[in-house]
Symmetry: C3
């Protein structure tokens, strides 16, 4: 069901942050109506399509679980007053909790409570997708205030065959069969960096790419982490293998920390090379992680059986900031400025990949720039520096794409596409396809 | 003539040192009864076979020399008293000395005496295999005490056509055609590190491997250095080329110095990779030498014409300790502890090579460990850490064997074989043969 | 027109410097009689052939320009006295100036004057090959002394269809189809390092190689920079591609600065490897530049369409010394000692390339040097160190040429050719051709 509503603008950090604020309070989980509502709001901005996959569907080594929908979850204390209510914070209930409605002593309740003693003001994020349990999460301070006595707990939820829901958007490009792939996840409740920064930036990138002619096709997916990417892979594996020139898992893009990079398993794919090249110019002190520190859907996309060229450009990486997977990962930690800077970096990555090509000289020797009207005297306006044109020609040996030439010449890759095109238009070089097919799987 | 006597245990440093003490006083040389006696004692522990190769046999650029047997060698001084007797120390006579029985002045004797002025208490080790000479070795202090006058010298030795003797042991493995090769030498008289540590450790490894099921076949040789390995190569070259997956020259394994490593000429063979990987965990500060510093039978095994994947794991390398090739290389320099630690390192090398394999994922994406009963919660006993299982699956791309995975994951290689086998048993990965054929010779 | 006059000696720095002094005052430019006169003087030393290429001839993206010949160029001041005369210094006139004969005010003259305010005693070197202009160059001090008033300027020059002239010398070698290539330029007027050191050293190398048997053929060209090398390439491209094993652009070889190196575009061709290897022994602190700093005819020879294995060994590189392209680049900056040392370095490069080969052992194992009369005891005269012979044999695996072996063994390459030949003569190794064909062009 494509959503063709007139799309709203989503171009700067403020609009991104505003969208994140709308999505923040929704009860998301692996499955259920929270995911659907999230995708419908995103569809106001980009014409994504919702897909529903029945519970029980196989996805390689996995099976789509039952759908979980929460109606209410709360605890009342010995005096009958509400101690805790998932209406106050989505994190208060353990994700995929089975229904419960019972009275019990505090001592019997305790094993079902989750807190972070070291972060006494933070509510932890806990799920139990594949073990049938129920539980509540709260701050350590809240827990310490609980008095002995009888408590009533109620979780009114359905956990029954239904569907897993994901959103997809495909934007055609001039290339018939090569594309960029962007994957982000919509299964975490109210957390801002390790969730909402991803879908929101994905929407902004998709909006920007929808309004611009692209050489490469573009594919975006918003899906639940792990089971969602496995389901998507199981439906599109051969197509993705054949078409994806490079891809990005979008996550942790909203804080103001130093940019960081998690490479693909191979570490030297086109995606890795583009990301490293762009970061080396826009964030020279960026932090490169090892694939051993992986933790999001690259675990599936880069698995040996899939072997896709996909990496992650992030701000502060998941697992490495104290707010991670707690209620402190909120909309103060994620800022308009953080979102905006991340969007600019990713746009550069996309531009560089979309403009990439392998220059091959069509002449022997240097060109005589004057003859082609390409010589610019020092100080003259317009055109390109002659030395840059000559350097491009000198290295146009068919062994390096524009990203490799950027590394070799020490010039940002986005400053090479124009000169390369100009030299090609003058007949001095040929721009060959740089999106080589992916290597065969082992 | 196989020796099938019930083998004695040889499992710890003390038993190794005791065996070295028995072998120490024997008059060994390139050929002769000392070698035979040494091999017969070793045969009490492992069922090695003795081979006899006639003098005059060609071995590539070399010829097996005449057999040398010494009956006695001594000098008496002007007063008729014994100045020197090979019965006191086997090093007193130059190896392969021709017979002599003469009286001469001290001045005429001097050119036949060998001492180490810089180590006045050490008897040097001198041989003259291919120039017909005679001589005696003594300490500088002994030499300084010699008074002018007439001396009688007598070397009663035979140097005549006979045989070169070596020992060989082959232990079958499950693999029909891949094996590990261990070569050590038995041609040095009373020296403990640069000789006896090698044959004794070889015997202990052979004993250990005889009592355990091995994937790879195992081949051990005890032979005279240089001419012995050339003879062995000349008889088995094509077989060794075809079968040897990795090999080790065993020498200088008895002192307590920092472990060291001499790579093969290629430097990156399976043997080199296993040795470096094991040493990086068991002796992180190990010293890596250059193949230019070679000095034992890798000179033959790694020669371009043979090109076998053979390296040396040692303690303090020959040529680099002051006791080398002197009477100070004795059974105090070599200790039970030194022998024991070396044995443990070599056992690990063998284990790692015998368990080596190339994991290849059989699924797309990560496995759902719970479904396979492979998920262990933090603190639960038994099984393997889930993250280690997932890391193994994530890198099971058919491009790395377990040694390469050990390097990539930073986990000792012997901690990977069990998890890999468990994942294979669960049908999640395939373990492919890691003992690739040797590259063709140039 | 070959010049077969009896060649004069040119073997040491003094004779090189004397030749440079003769060539210094000649009015050279891209074309014209100054080039011809220069080549005729060089022809007294080496039998080079002059070639004439008509104006208008195409050379890839370029066209041979009209020939320029200067008769006189001067300025007289308001008092009628000569202010400037090209007879005093060839740099006083802008190269390729169109004729002019006019009176004008100082203010109108100023735009035609070129000086270096930062180097007030230096006359700059200025040309205008492809824009029709006229101009004069002078020191800043001369310019500052000009008084307002009427000046007469006269440039009596012809710029008309004629020829481009270059010199070529080919010395046959034993090899039917492999050669070394040396290119230098003769288009700069009175400058000593960035011009004359090149043609003079080229002549000395050619003289030396003419009197010695060479395995490789040798080819030398003396031509105008850029358009000359393009013309030469356009006439000989396929032949050069097929034959040139390695080559050198000869320039900036006369000062006494630290040797420097500009690699080919590929950076690892035979020429690069030889140059780096020789420099690492003769000038261990040599400075390696990046191909991005290129500036002479490697811009053409190493262009992707030509892709020849050509590099530059220099003293202080063009663009990096303050005298560059000024009247200060004179015969005091260039010295006999500087020229002599450079000649020795280049001779070594040539020797190493001419003696290069890939040793391949013909035996298994080490040789028994005694059997071949190749064993030299420590202190014995003659022959080669046994360890060097054994090291050569140990690495004679057909994967390294003598240059690679020099790097591996840490021995100067010119100390390996003799031992390798001796081992080959003894039948112990085979010396295979090391001048592999150039890789195919992209």
């Amino acid at each position: 069901m494509p959503h063709a509503a007139p799309a709203r603008p989503l171009a700067d950090g403020d609009s991104l942050h505003a969208l994140a604020r709308r999505l923040f309070p929704i009860h998301r989980s692996l499955t259920g109506d929270g995911v659907r509502e999230t995708l419908r709001i995103l569809a106001e901005f980009v014409p994504l399509t919702l897909h529903e996959v029945p519970s029980g569907t196989r996805a390689f080594d996995w099976v789509v679980p039952d759908e979980w929908n929460l109606r209410e979850a709360w605890i009342t204390g010995p005096d009958g007053a509400k101690v805790l209510d998932a209406r106050d914070h989505t994190l208060h209930v353990v994700g995929y909790s089975v229904p419960v409605d019972a009275e019990l002593d505090l001592a019997d309740l305790q094993p079902h409570l989750h807190t972070l003693p070291g972060q006494p003001d933070a509510i932890p994020y806990v799920t139990s997708y594949y073990r049938r349990e129920w539980g509540f999460c709260l701050t350590q301070r809240q827990r310490d205030a609980l008095r002995p006595g009888r408590y009533r707990v109620r979780i009114d939820a359905t956990l029954a065959p239904g569907h897993l829901t994901y959103g997809e958007l495909r934007i055609p490009g001039q290339s018939p069969d090569r594309e960029l792939f962007f994957s982000t996840y919509v299964c975490h409740p109210s957390m801002a960096n390790n969730e909402l920064s991803g879908p929101v930036i994905a929407a902004a990138l998709a909006r920007w790419l929808s309004d611009r002619p692209n050489r490469l096709a573009m594919r975006f997916v918003w899906l639940p982490e792990t089971i969602g990417s496995l389901v998507y892979l199981s439906r599109h594996l051969e197509e993705l293998r054949r078409r994806v020139a490079a891809g990005f898992v979008l996550t942790c893009l909203g804080d103001e920390g130093t940019p960081s990079f998690l490479p693909s398993r191979r570490g030297d794919t086109l995606a890795d090379r583009a990301a490293r090249c762009v970061l080396s110019h826009l964030a020279p002190g960026f932090r490169e992680h090892d694939f051993l520190e992986r933790g999001s859907d690259e675990r599936q996309y880069c698995s040996p059986g899939a072997d896709l060229p996909i990496c992650s450009v992030m701000r502060t990486k998941y697992h490495t900031f104290p707010q991670y997977h707690t209620s402190l990962d909120d909309l103060e930690f994620v800022t308009a400025k953080g979102l905006d800077t991340s969007l600019q970096i990713l746009k550069r990555c996309v531009e560089v990949l979309d403009a990439n090509a392998i220059p091959q000289a069509r002449i022997v020797g240097e060109p005589q720039l004057e003859r082609h009207g390409l010589y610019r005297r020092p100080g003259e306006p317009g055109g390109f520096p002659p030395r840059l044109l000559l350097d491009l020609m000198a290295f146009a040996d068919g062994r390096r794409d524009l990203i490799g030439l950027s590394d070799r010449l020490g010039v940002p890759p986005w400053e090479l596409a124009g000169p390369a095109r100009t030299l090609a238009d003058a007949g001095l070089l040929h721009l060959a396809d740089a999106d080589s097919p992916n290597p065969p799987r082992p």
